[in-house]
Amino acid sequence: MRASTSLSPALPGPVVTAPRRRRVAPAGGTRGLKRAHFREARLPLLLLLPQLLVLLLFFFIPALRALSQSFVLTDPFGNSVQFVWLDNFRRLIESPEYRSSIGVTFWFTLAQNALTIVMALVLAFATDRVLRGRGFYRSVILLPYAIAPVIAGILWAFLFNTAVGPISFVLHGLGIDWDPNRHGIDAFLLVTFAASWKHICYDYIFLIAALLSVPPSLLEAAAVDGAGPLLRFARISLPMIGPTIFFLVVMNFVYGFFETFAIVDAVTHGGPGGATMILVYKVYIDGFVHIDLGSSAAQSVLMMIFALVLTVLQFRYVERNVNYDV
C-alpha cells in the first residue's frame, strides 16, 4: 500500500497548516505526515514518551552495552575491566568453534529456507487450484503457527527419539542407524525438520495472499491461448509473486537465525559435537554458561551487523510498497 498523502485533492481548506514551509514537496504534501496535521509542541512528545522510554531502557542501552562490552575484557565477577580493542573479535574469528558455528548456521538456514519455501509454494499452488475444502485445508496447514517453536521441537524430538519415537522405530526397522544423540547429521536433520514444520504455514499464508492478487484476466488470457495450469503458474503467477518470495526468503533467514533458539535448546542443546550449535545458541552458551562476557558481546555485535544487512535487504523489497520517508 502506498502512503496516500497525495490521494486526496489538495483543497485549500481551513486546515492548511505551516504558513512558512521551507521545504515544500512537489506533490503538495509533507511526505509521511498527514496534510491535515496538528501543530502542537508538547502533546506529541508526551505521546511518544512511553515508547521512547521502553526503547531506551530495553533496546538502546542494551545495544550500546553490547557494543561497549565487545571492546573490553571483563572477569566473570566484574571486578576488573580491561580495554582490548578488537581482541574479542580476533579471538572469535580465530576460534574453530565459532567458524564451525557460522557454517552450521549457514547450512541450517539455507536448508530450512529451501524446504520451507518449496513446500509452501506447492501447498499454496494446490490450495489456489482446489475449490472444495479450501478453507479446511487452510485451517489445518495454519495450525503450526499457533505452536511455540519449543513445542514444535519437543514434538519432533519425540517422534525421532531413539527409545520411544515411532519414526525412529520405523527407521531402525528399515536398518537405518538413526541416532541424533550420536550422529551430528541426524541431529542437524531433526532440527531442520522441526524448524521447517513450524514455519511453512507462515510462508504459505503470504503466498496464498500473493496468488490471490494475481490478476485473473492475465491467467484467463493465457488459458485462452492454450497454456495449462502449470505453465500459467510458472510463466505468470510465479514472476508476479516474485517480490513476495524474496521477502519470504529474507524473513526465513531472520527466523532461522534468531527464532530457532528454542528448538535447538529443546532438541539437541547444540550437540552432538557442535553439529547444531547455531550462532544464537552459542551467544547464550558463551554468555550464560561459560560467562565469557567479551566473547558473547562480540558475537552479539556481529549478529547485529548481520541483522542490519537482512533488514536493508528486506526494505529493498518493502520500499516498493511503502513509502518510509517522513
Binding site: 500500500m1 502512503a3 496516500s4 498523502t5 486526496s8 486546515v15 497548516t17 498527514k34 491535515a36 496535521h37 496538528f38 502542537e40 502533546l43 506529541p44 505521546l47 511518544l48 515508547q51 521502553v54 526503547l55 531502557l57 530495553f58 533496546f59 538502546f60 542501552i61 542494551p62 553490547a66 513446500m119 494446490a126 485445508y137 485451517s139 489445518v140 495454519l142 495450525l143 503450526p144 503457527y145 499457533a146 505452536i147 511455540a148 517453536p149 513445542i151 514434538l155 519425540f158 527419539n161 520411544v164 515411532p166 503470504f206 534468531f258 533458539f261 528454542a262 535448546d265 544464537v280 551467544v283 550464560f288 558481546a297 552479539s300 549478529m303 541483522a307 518493502v318 511503502v322 517522513v326
Partner: protein, 300 residues
C-alpha cells in the same frame, strides 16, 4: 478456473491431504502417547493408536507441572505484551503521522532503528537491564559524582527479575506495531481530520473518537499475533524467571520433558504439550481470518 483438468485437481487434493497429514502427524502422536501409561509408551513396537489414560495423564501433567499457576502467568504475559505494545505504538504512530513538531525526524529514526535488531542479538545486556532497571540512572549519578555532592552513597537497585514487568517490557521494546499503525493512519482520509478540526475537536478527541474506532480491525488482528507471540515466548522467560512460580507455561512444559537420568514419562510430557498449545491453537482456529489479515498487513 477456466478449463477442466481432473488430473491436476486430484493431484492438488492429494498434495493438500499429504500436507495436512504432515502437519497433524506430530500432534497425533502427542495425543497417542499422551493417552497411554509409561509402560505402554516404552513397549516395542510403540503404540500407534490412542489409549485410555488421557485424562489421568492430563491431570498428572496439570499437577506435576504446576500448570494452573503457569497458565495464569502466560495469560498475563501474553496479554500484557499485546496490550502494552499496541498502546504505546498507537500513541507514537499518532504522534508521528499527525503532528508536526521539532524532534519529529529524530523520534521517527529512533523508533525506526529499533525495527532492525531482533531482541535475540542482545541477550546478555538485556538481561543486565532487567536485573537492574535503575542502572542507567546509577551511571548518571556516578558520572556526575552526585553522591559526594549530597554527602551520601547512592546505590539504586530496581530488579525486575521474576516479575511480570521483566517478562513483558523487553518484548514491548520494538517498533513493528508502530509502523503498522503509522501506515494505516496514512491511508485514513484527510477529510476526517479536517472535519474534526472544523468541529473544534482537540487532537486527543480526534484520536479517541475517530482514529481509534477506525483502527479496531487492525488492533484486533495485531492483538492476536502479539498474544500468540507472547504465549509462545521461550528465551526471555527462561532467563528472567528463576522462581518456578513466575515461569510461563512453555517453560514449565520444558521441565516435564524426560532427560536421560529421569523416568521416561513421555506420556505426561506429551499430554502437557497438548495442554500448553491448546490456548493458542483455539485462538488461531477461532480467529483465523483476523490472524491472516494481521500477518499480511504486518508483512507489507
Amino acid at each position: 478456473m477456466v478449463e477442466r483438468t481432473r488430473g491436476i485437481d486430484i493431484a492438488c487434493h492429494g498434495i493438500l491431504i499429504l500436507g495436512g497429514l504432515l502437519v497433524c502427524l506430530p500432534i497425533y502422536f502427542a495425543f497417542v502417547v499422551g493417552s497411554h501409561t509409561v509402560g505402554d509408551v516404552l513397549a516395542v513396537p510403540p503404540p500407534w493408536l490412542p489409549g485410555r489414560e488421557f485424562f489421568a495423564n492430563a491431570w498428572a501433567a496439570w499437577e506435576k507441572g504446576n500448570l494452573g499457576r503457569l497458565f495464569v502467568n502466560s495469560f498475563i504475559v501474553a496479554a500484557g505484551i499485546a496490550v502494552g505494545k499496541i498502546a504505546v505504538s498507537l500513541l507514537s504512530a499518532f504522534a508521528i503521522a499527525y503532528f508536526r513538531f521539532r524532534w519529529r525526524m529524530l523520534a521517527f529514526w529512533l523508533i525506526f532503528v529499533s525495527l532492525m535488531l531482533p531482541v535475540e542479538v542482545r541477550i546478555l545486556p538485556t538481561y543486565e537491564a532487567v536485573a537492574n532497571v535503575a542502572l542507567p540512572l546509577q551511571w548518571l549519578i556516578d558520572a556526575l559524582d552526585l553522591g559526594r555532592w549530597l554527602g551520601i552513597e547512592v546505590t539504586l537497585d530496581w530488579n525486575m527479575m521474576n516479575s511480570y514487568g521483566g517478562l513483558i517490557l523487553p518484548l514491548v521494546a520494538s517498533a513493528t506495531a508502530t509502523f503498522l499503525f503509522r501506515q494505516f493512519f496514512l491511508t485514513v482520509p484527510e477529510e476526517l481530520a479536517e472535519a474534526a478540526r472544523i468541529d473544534g475537536a482537540s487532537p486527543l478527541r480526534f484520536f479517541r473518537s475517530v482514529l481509534l474506532p477506525l483502527s479496531v480491525s487492525n488492533i484486533v488482528a495485531l492483538g492476536i499475533i502479539l498474544f500468540l507471540y507472547g504465549w509462545n515466548q521461550y528465551l526471555w522467560p527462561l532467563l528472567f524467571t528463576t522462581d518456578k512460580n513466575m515461569a510461563t507455561a512453555v517453560i514449565g512444559l520444558k521441565d516435564l520433558i524426560p532427560q536421560s537420568d529421569t523416568e521416561p514419562a513421555w506420556n505426561v510430557a506429551m499430554n502437557a504439550a497438548l495442554l500448553v498449545m491448546l490456548p493458542p491453537v483455539i485462538v488461531v482456529i477461532a480467529l483465523q481470518r483476523w490472524l491472516v489479515k494481521g500477518l499480511v498487513d504486518a508483512g507489507k
